[in-house]
Symmetry: C2
Subunit: 234 residues, 2 copies
C-alpha cells in the first residue's frame, strides 16, 4: 500500500498546493492521470476545485479527472491510476463518499497498491474514522467510519497556538478528549507544512516540524523526520 497524507494544502502566504507539489510528483512517478475527489468542497464549487487542482498538477505533468464528472463513480475508482482526495469539510466529504458507495471500492483499490494522496480532510479519510477532524459537522454522514487504511488517527492542521483571551478548548485538550473516549487509538498531530508517507511497509514524516503523538495515559511525544514511526502502525 502507498499513501501520501498531507496536513494542509496551502501554507499561509503561499500558492495553493505549492509546498507539497514536488513530494506529490515523486510519489506519483509514472502516473499520468489521477482520479480527484472534490467532495470536501462546500463553498467552492467542484468545478472550481477541479480547476484549482488541475492547474497545480499540470506543473508536475499529471492530468486530473474529477469524479463528479464520471457517470459511474465506482467504476472510475476501479479504473484509477491514483486517487487524490482534497481538503475542505470532512463531514461533507465522508457523507458524499458514503452516499456514492465509494468507501469499500477505494479501500479495496488502495489496499491493492493504487497510490492514494490526501490533504487535510483527504488525510483524515485514510484513518479509521473522521473523529479527529477540526471541521464543523455541517452535514450528518451515514457513520463516522472512514477508509481505515491506517490504524491511527491524524489531526491535520495541528497547532499549538491558541487565541489570547479565548476560553475555548486548545487543540491538545480536544485530542485528549478523543484519547480518553477512544483509549486504544493513537493520534498523530500533523502540523502544517508536514506530511506522512507510507511506502514499502514504512511510515515516514516529511517536513520541518515535529509530529506530536498522543496516546491515552502517556505524555505526548514529539517525533522528527527520520524517527522511527512504526509505533503508529501497530
Amino acid at each position: 500500500m502507498r499513501l501520501l497524507l498531507i496536513s494542509n494544502s496551502t501554507n499561509a502566504g503561499e500558492a495553493y498546493l505549492e509546498y507539497p507539489k514536488y513530494e506529490i510528483q515523486k510519489f506519483l512517478a509514472n502516473v499520468k492521470e489521477v482520479l480527484f475527489i472534490p467532495y470536501a468542497g462546500v463553498t467552492l464549487t467542484w468545478d472550481d476545485y477541479q480547476a484549482r487542482v488541475e492547474s497545480r498538477f499540470a506543473e508536475i505533468g499529471i492530468q486530473v479527472k474529477s469524479i463528479h464528472h464520471c457517470a459511474n463513480p465506482v467504476q472510475a475508482v476501479y479504473d484509477a491510476q491514483a486517487i487524490v482526495v482534497g481538503g475542505g469539510n470532512t463531514f461533507n466529504l465522508l457523507k458524499t463518499m458514503q452516499d456514492n458507495g465509494l468507501i469499500a471500492p477505494i479501500r479495496a483499490k488502495v489496499s491493492g497498491g493504487t497510490p492514494y494522496v490526501g490533504w487535510s480532510a483527504g488525510s483524515n479519510m485514510a484513518c479509521p474514522t473522521l473523529c479527529t477532524t477540526n471541521d464543523m459537522p455541517i452535514v450528518e454522514p451515514q457513520s463516522f467510519k472512514a477508509l481505515g487504511l491506517i490504524p491511527f488517527q491524524i489531526n491535520p492542521h495541528y497547532l499549538d497556538a491558541h487565541p489570547d483571551g479565548h476560553a475555548g478548548e486548545t487543540r491538545e485538550q480536544r485530542i485528549n478528549e478523543f484519547t480518553q473516549a477512544n483509549k486504544g487509538t493513537k493520534v498523530a498531530g500533523l502540523r502544517e507544512g508536514c506530511m506522512l508517507l507510507y511506502d514499502n511497509g514504512k511510515l515516514s514524516l516529511i517536513g520541518s516540524r515535529q509530529l506530536r503523538l498522543f496516546e491515552y495515559g502517556k505524555e505526548p511525544l514529539e517525533l522528527n523526520a527520520g524517527d522511527d514511526l512504526s509505533v503508529l502502525m501497530q
Copy 2:
C-alpha cells in the same frame, strides 16, 4: 418556554461560571434545586463536574442534583424544577442524552415551562442539531438531532481571532459552510461573555459584545443587546 443559553462557562482569567452567576440567579428565581446534566464532561469526571457546579450554585442558593446519580434519569427529568446542561464535548453530551432516552422527555418538559439553562455544549443542545458545535467528534451520536427548542443554531464561543500564520478555516468560514449546506437555517455567533434569554415569548441578548447573525445569501449582521432578535425565532 423559558431558556437561558450561555456562550461559555468561564471567561479567560475568571472563576468558573462567575460572569453568568447573577443572570442564572435571576432566571431561576424561586427554584430551590436544579437537575444537572454533566454528560459533556470527558476528561473531567461527572462527580468532579457536579462538585464544580454545586459550589457556584450554592452561592446563589440553589442545590444541584446530578442526573448521573439518579436511578431513573427520565423520571428525574419529569420531576425537575429546572434543567441545567453544562458544557464540554457536544458529541459526548448528545450521544449520552440519546442513549439514556432523554431527548423527548427534556423537550416535553421544557416546552411545558420548566426553565432550561445551558452553556457552551448545553446551549447547542437547545438548537435543532449539534451542527454548529466547535467540538471534535470524538464519539458518534445516534443522530445529529438535538432538542430543537429554538429554530436557529447557536455557535458558542464565537470568535473573530485566528492564529497568525495558520491556514485552517476561520470560524466565519466554517459557519458559511454550514449555511451553504443548510440554506434555511440561521446561525447566531454568540461571543464569549454573552447569553441569550428567551422568556415571555421574547428573545434577548445579554452581554457587552455583539451577536453575529449568519444567514445564507446575506451579509452577516451584528446585533446588540436591546436589538430586536425576533428574526431568529422565525
